[in-house]
């Protein structure tokens, strides 16, 4: 990903919601890892689906894209792809830069 891909713009009037949103996303990574370790594909699918819904709503398009990949990976039971996507998600959350306007 380019540096530009890590930049997200969020409306100022929801800035106060972002810390909780980010905290929940980090928790989501943990939940995804636990579900993958347990090969709980239904849980993975549900988590991916939720990411898909919530990411775009807050302006984090890439979270939605990764959610879609996780949902698809869970449907096909592709553990390697899921592990790679979860790592990418973790890295994305560590690097994302949020601007408020």
């Amino acid at each position: 990903m380019n540096a530009e891909d890590y930049k997200v713009t969020v409306a100022k009037d929801i800035a106060d919601l972002i810390p909780v949103f980010m905290k929940n996303r980090h928790k989501e990574v943990d939940a995804l890892r636990v579900a993958l370790a347990a090969a709980d594909f239904e849980q993975l699918r549900q988590l991916g689906h939720r990411m898909k819904g919530v990411g775009n709503s807050y302006g984090f398009t890439h979270v939605s894209t990764l959610g879609k990949h996780i949902e698809e990976g869970a449907r096909s039971g592709d553990r390697a792809a899921l592990a790679a996507t979860i790592s990418e998600y973790d890295e994305y959350l560590a690097k994302v830069q949020i601007a408020y306007e």
Binding site: D13, I14, Q46, R50, G53, V54, Y58
Partner: protein
């Protein structure tokens, strides 16, 4: 205003509550977590809410099932149903189950949420005094009135200059479809009506996977309608979102567009209004062109009156701006403008007014592509040559150029199927 918000995601409940309170400061919102609570029972005061926002996947429960049960209650208020994107059959089923409106959750913006709740909760007085709202209400009630054999018209999803657009479904299998109902003012305009009917006749004749499938047309109570396929992938405008797409993907879309043009030109038809809103994606990612509202038969006499310029200025060919007789190279030029936009995320020409943009097509040399896209410069130049004699002559010539120069850029095999 009292709103019941049923969604299994805490962040989404918080966000939607914030949007609603920002619009209606006195709104009372109950955030209902279906992971913690079961379906509201008989004792739940459903009738005390003005509107329910209900998600389609509730973690433990099925939103559609909740919708059906809630709608059986006499005190059920209006329900805005949130569906998944790219899965319109859920929307079809929700509307058939009694939802009053639906929104694709992934594409739900503050504006869409507020507009939907406003429409659902508007009083009779508000519906009368607001022209926009009154027009939308008229559109909704028109859709409910029109009867098409084997088709159920479900919900108005858009309005254009010539037609209102509805989500519909085939009664046999719930297959999502689009019904376009022509505006009355267009029906009264003989020339515009002829164009609309030509759109149907021409597109039906084309039978190409690169062109929207038309399933029928007709009239009901002086309403002229067209039934066509529903595109779950949305349009190119949405796909671009003001940004470039990766070059290999841009080239894939462009190549498909060339196949589409090859097919329609072969039938002697010009599109004349190519723009991102007229390039639609199916769920499998394939692309098809729609909206032949101003297309015309190449062989037909030019009925465009003097001074009347049809098309969208951003994508118009120089000869179109001049109102000259057109041939298929006008579509090649517009496709070139689209390719430039896909590659760069920017319009080929900008301007304060439509006229200014149109004049750029006549007089201004196209800006060069950025350095990292230099390998596409020759292609774009030859597509948007102002002198059509110097332009690619047809879609086949462009496809040949792509094959010779960019074969390695193909992300996957695109076959021309009929």
């Amino acid at each position: 205003m009292r709103v019941l918000l049923i969604d299994d995601d805490e962040d989404l409940r918080t966000l939607l509550s914030r949007y609603i309170r920002a619009q209606w400061s006195d709104a009372q919102i109950e955030a209902y977590d279906p992971l913690e609570r079961d379906l509201p029972g008989e004792s739940f005061p459903l009738g005390s809410y003005d509107v329910v926002v209900l998600d389609y996947m509730l973690g433990r429960g099925d939103g559609l099932e909740w919708l059906r049960i809630l709608k059986q209650r006499a005190d059920c208020p209006k329900i805005l149903f949130l569906t998944g994107a790219g899965n319109e059959i859920i929307a079809v089923r929700a509307m058939k189950a009694g939802a009053d409106d639906y929104q694709r959750k992934q594409e739900l913006t503050r504006e869409k949420l507020i507009a939907s709740i406003r429409d659902l909760t508007a009083t009779e007085v508000e519906r009368t005094v607001s022209p926009d709202l009154a027009a939308r209400m008229e559109g909704h009630s028109l859709g409910a009135k029109v009867r098409i054999p084997g088709i159920k018209v479900l919900h108005m999803i858009g309005e254009g200059g010539t037609a209102r657009v509805y989500l519909a479904s085939r009664e046999d299998d719930d297959e999502p479809l689009v019904v376009k109902i022509l505006r009355h003012e267009i029906v009264l305009n003989k020339k515009a009506l002829e164009r609309f009917m030509e759109e149907y006749a021409m597109v039906e004749r084309i039978q190409s996977r690169h062109v929207a499938r038309i399933f029928g047309h007709g009239t009901y109570d002086e309403n002229v309608y067209l039934v066509m396929e529903f595109f779950e992938g949305g349009d190119l405008s949405k796909r671009l979102g003001g940004k470039p797409v990766p070059p290999a993907e841009a080239l894939k879309f462009f190549r498909e567009l060339m196949f589409a043009l090859g097919d329609i030109h072969e039938k002697g038809i010009l599109h004349r209004d190519l723009k991102p809103q007229n390039l639609m994606f199916r769920r499998d990612g394939s692309l098809a062109i729609v909206d032949f509202g101003i297309a015309k038969n190449i062989a037909a006499a030019d009925r465009t009156g003097a001074g009347e310029v049809l098309g969208t200025p951003r994508y118009m060919s120089p000869e179109q701006v001049q109102g000259r007789a057109l041939d298929l190279r006008t579509d090649i030029y517009s496709a070139g403008v689209l390719l430039y936009q896909m590659l760069t995320g920017k319009h080929l020409f900008d301007g304060e007014t439509a006229m200014e943009v149109a004049m750029h097509h006549l007089n201004t040399q196209p800006p060069p592509l950025p350095d990292h896209l230099a390998k596409y410069q020759r292609l774009v130049e030859k597509l948007v040559e102002k002198d059509r004699e110097a332009r690619f002559r047809n879609a086949d010539e462009v496809i040949g150029f792509l094959a010779r120069n960019f074969e390695q850029d193909k992300p996957d095999v695109t076959q021309k199927l009929h």
